[in-house]
Subunit: 536 residues, 2 copies
Amino acid sequence: MPLFNDLGITEANPSAARGYSTFGGGYGEIKGLMQASSYDGVMTFHAVSPLDAHPYGSPIEECGEAQTCTLIERASAVAPSLADLSPEAHASLLMCIAGEIEAKRESLIETACAETGLPIARITGEVTRTVVQFQLFADLVKTGRHLEVVIDKADPNYSPAPRPDIRKFNQPLGVVAIFAASNFPLAFSVAGGDSASAIASGNAVVAKAHPSHPNTCALVETAIKAALTKSNLSTDLFSIVQGTNPEITHWLASHPLISAIGFTGSETVGRILIDVAAKRERPIPVFAEMGSINPIFISDSAISERCEALAKGVVDSALLGSGQFCTKPGLIFAPDSADFYTAIKSHLASLSVAPLLNGAIFGRYNDAISRLTSIPNVEIVPGVSTDKGFGVTPTFFFTDWQTAKSHPELLDEHFGPTAVVIRASEDEYCEIAKGLDGQLTSTIHATESDSFVELIKILAGKSGRVLWNGFPTGVAVTAAMNHGGPWPASSSHTTSVGIDAIYRFMRPVAYQGFLDSALPTPLKDSNPWGVPQEIN
Amino acid sequence: MPLFNDLGITEANPSAARGYSTFGGGYGEIKGLMQASSYDGVMTFHAVSPLDAHPYGSPIEECGEAQTCTLIERASAVAPSLADLSPEAHASLLMCIAGEIEAKRESLIETACAETGLPIARITGEVTRTVVQFQLFADLVKTGRHLEVVIDKADPNYSPAPRPDIRKFNQPLGVVAIFAASNFPLAFSVAGGDSASAIASGNAVVAKAHPSHPNTCALVETAIKAALTKSNLSTDLFSIVQGTNPEITHWLASHPLISAIGFTGSETVGRILIDVAAKRERPIPVFAEMGSINPIFISDSAISERCEALAKGVVDSALLGSGQFCTKPGLIFAPDSADFYTAIKSHLASLSVAPLLNGAIFGRYNDAISRLTSIPNVEIVPGVSTDKGFGVTPTFFFTDWQTAKSHPELLDEHFGPTAVVIRASEDEYCEIAKGLDGQLTSTIHATESDSFVELIKILAGKSGRVLWNGFPTGVAVTAAMNHGGPWPASSSHTTSVGIDAIYRFMRPVAYQGFLDSALPTPLKDSNPWGVPQEIN
């Protein structure tokens, strides 16, 4: 999923992430429209409507370095007030944030639709998901279970040595920097899963707004600040940083008071962030969720049993959100079946998609389609073009495994409404799977007569989530969800979706030999908050 | 805790970690004795006895690049056999390893004492701890609790969207590279906490033996391979790599089949490993446990109440293991008390310590003492010298906070039997604590009349473990232990001691929409292994 790539940072030119000097090179890509301009010495930029590629809304001020640092310092100064909340008060805050976002539903839908070009139904669902995420974390936080209290009472007979009284629980880190994704203007933006889990674990947050939907971000910031005020907490606990200047990324990631980074975006920018974080005087963890091709493997018997439904499912999943989901299935391995191809073509011809999110994604999509189109032995299947704004032509490619192997670009992630369908034999699936990079998801479509024991095992070793007879788009926000996976799917062993995302932004602290009166509340024998205590 | 620093890699010369070309510069530091030599084209090195600085044992072959890669590839090929074990079979393996190490107790004690110069009682305790670590992991693994199974059954009414059946559990990573520490020749060496937790989580392990105790490492390898054979598993699941060539670190850390790194050593080498890991085509996590100064803050009332006991406790803790523990208290903040200083001097004069572990540590210790000795306004208090081999003079330094602030080297970690006692007022403790780096431990010595609410909070924010009226050396291997902390104490939010260390080397994998028959055993409704399943 591109993020700062939207701003013209490419693998070939990672230094474009630094310095205003790259303005020309970097920003030119965005059709010249999101380019920052200056009046009265204040740098500003505009949102751009993907529907007509014209500016949307009022000019937005670029956040400078001093202002970014001030926001971080203020957040750090008040962070302990969040860390000290009782589970009940903390859960109330999360419910209050959910309520404030819900209260802005209408204006959020209007603004986000205008800035992203995504349909109302999609944005409506995203508002709900964003609200539900805070509610789910409130449910968890209220129990205190996430504190993972363990109490080992003193034991003079313990082996290998007598044991003093030791107790530990999870504590927040301080201030977390969150980088909003372009493709989920609410559910993975400044109040998305990353921010919600960071706040739920008791951290202050400074979030980089995505310049593709800055007005939506500003509305969300207002909602969260209102909830903080209603909860008698400082509004400095949550702030957003607006801007198109890639240097902002460095100001945030390298600030000594930032304790961890949550990021959803491209592998290129993920690597830049990891690099910046590792070069700090005190390196910090980066929880980056990045690229994935999300392969689907279809069995012979599945094609025979439900060719039409599979074709429809594959096309719908690849075109959902105009193909701008991190879980978009980009590679479909299937037996040679004329019926399957015909059904794909036919369904593709019946659908149109919303324009892409911004000019950079638009430009890269068209470049990729043009490059793939020039590869020999590839059948190009265009869908219904959308001409307005950043509208594109959804495009499927049909080829065989031999061709795909010799043209690895066919196997790369291409953001947007495209997928590559590769003719291959079931016998080859295990070898193909062994060659895959890390994935957020891998999918098998089969029937009860199939087993694929070996293939399942290989895919599980490569993926964060393995699906059977499903489609990877549509990530359930639930306890058993895992949204992550080996590199480049993510940079850690954690999930960024579901309640376990909360554990990214806490760390255990052990207390040894303390009097009960001096212990933090969750560790006291009297357990005034009634949190679960594992006592040994 | 130095590791490869022992091989002459310094912050000023990190490139010394690369290439045989650095042989002269790097290896000369180790008194010329551990230097690799070549006969018949085979590079070899010797262990060195710290007791007389002379070679110990037979020449040991340096592991070359091809051999290192072969060990990793073989481990990768058989890793699934470990991952597939039932909890019961897996626990039996761990108990069998414990048994084989126990069976070698006598030869391990003899060899480790000769190679490290550490006293028999210490090594005896380490054998026990090493055995107990495997037993504790066996107890955990047998329950299946570490798999953290979560089952979300399909729910058509789930909000924000209908939920498919999703189930997840923790799976091993594949092959983990472990770097043994010099200062715990058993409990944090090739079968120490890192290897034990990696094997307990179902990973194959390739461990870099520390050249300070290569014969001990070889004995341990034999024990583990014997246990694998008795358990009908391939001996390729665990191997060690011997050598003094810093390039070995790179071969291991950059090999594409290595999935994670466990490391205990210096911040310098920790940074090198993190850098190598981040620059891989597929970056991997590095769980590095590095430096810590382990400050102790003593209250006025504590000094008044138990001056003698505190002085004895501080000196004993700083000199334990000849001051070569990662939890050694290096900075003691105390009120100005002539009695306290007198008691420290008197106790220091009554103790002698074993020689340091190797020539590099010996050289750096003497350099550090000589540099600190030249700082004005510092009282130097030497203890009892040990002249033989790598023997040194334990040395305490007394100074005031003003002097320490203007000479930051006084506040650095110095490996070996030394500590700096700093006169400061209780009122200054919070400000002093705020300026600290991340710590494995921080300690307060006080009485019931003290509260130190603010100081405890600041120290908890900087440390992995906070102690009240205790001493940080002697890390209990127990559920509530946390051995880690903000950088440079560690590079992650995990513990390297205690059963929670197991979670470093696993990652969750979710299975969506699977038929029960195709699910991995721990996720099946029938739950044949009887593992704990959280069912929603």
